[in-house]
Amino acid sequence: MLMEYPILSHSQQAHCQRCGNHLMSRPKHSLQFTLSFAIACFILFLTANFFPMISAEQAGFHNQMKLFEAAYAFFIHGEWMLSAIVLFVVILMPLVLLAMIAYLLLPMIFFRTILPYTNPVARLVFSLQKWSMVDVYLVAMLASVTKLTSMVTIELGIGIWAYIAFSLCLSAALANLDKQRFWRYMDKIKCHQILKQQQL
């Protein structure tokens, strides 16, 4: 159904007349927030990969887990399909999303320019979002810890705190990345560039 886009002030929201779904809102600096959370994510992600997340101990045997090892363990046991799925949704997808967000927003916000392949990259960012399952993995981790405490001695490492922070920052980055805000911002920058060229 067709509706005219209303002009909104920062605290207002628009909803569809037909199905009631949220259509648009106008948060302040949302894209800038996305970029800063995305950069924080990179650092936290490295921390979660280099420091152990959980360690288990029983009767002298000791084992610990870093982030990428969950996918790797499936691979060792011959379940390469499962390994690929976990690797994809927990590690690759969020990393690729973050890299693409940085690629799009860094030049737009700081240099007012648009890099080549911005359009296909932006379409990918919006269509791939639901395949990043970092938040689901975090809940799974809490469930596993509960399950394990009855069997072995569990210790939580720096890695898990970094991962919790990573998950929160990633959700914040994606929540602030509004589709319409993004494409309108890009239109604005394009106009800007055309005006600049005319002045020269």
Binding site: M1, L2, M3, Q17, R18, C19, G20, N21, I54, A56, E57, Q58, A59, F61, H62, N63, Q64, M65, E69, A70, A71, Y72, A73, F74, H77, E79, M81, L82, I85, V86, V89, V90, N119, P120, A122, R123, F126, S127, K130, W131, M133, V136, Y137, V139, A140, M141, L142, A143, S144, T146, K147, L148, S150, M151, V152, K179, Q180, W183, D187
Partner: protein
Amino acid sequence: MSSDTKTAAALNLTLCLHCHKLNPSSWSVCSRCGGKIYPRKPKSLQISLAWIVTAIVFYIPANIFPVMSTYAFGRESASTIIGGIFELWEQKSYFIASIIFVASIVIPIVKILILLWLCLSLKLNLTETLRFRTHLYRLTLWVGRWSMIDVFVVAILVALLQLGGMLSIQPTVGSLAFASVVIATMLAAEAFDPRLIWDHLQD
């Protein structure tokens, strides 16, 4: 609803699902973002139904076969998804047990039923509960990924519990079947075009 509402299709316009720009219907590529545009997602119903059937087929082995087997002190025991939930319940971890129960039993079944009903109601040309059905669709789109919890739990247990001969855990075929169910339902929801629900209103 007021009678003067118009749809984009009636004005020969097509919405770009990538960037929400309206383009003339005769175009096949969006003028702003370069993405493919079409009045409705092509073969939406057929593709969606195909993925639902796939999900149902995988759902049976996912629940019959164990998702992992535990070797503890020389004894081997296999556990299915439902078995794992009972175990947690007996350990008095009621909260986690309920989360896993909802994520891996309730959500897949409800999601498959909702998608089936959405497809069926389009075939039957139902004109009631349009708004409700749109809400249901949005729910299935958002909630499906949470079913992966159980697959991740197996991944973490397998990675962590390799404590020599004392205690070790192996993944088994049930996990892969269950992961396939989740992915199939997600693809089914993505293929479905919610605008089809409202199309009968125009006729």
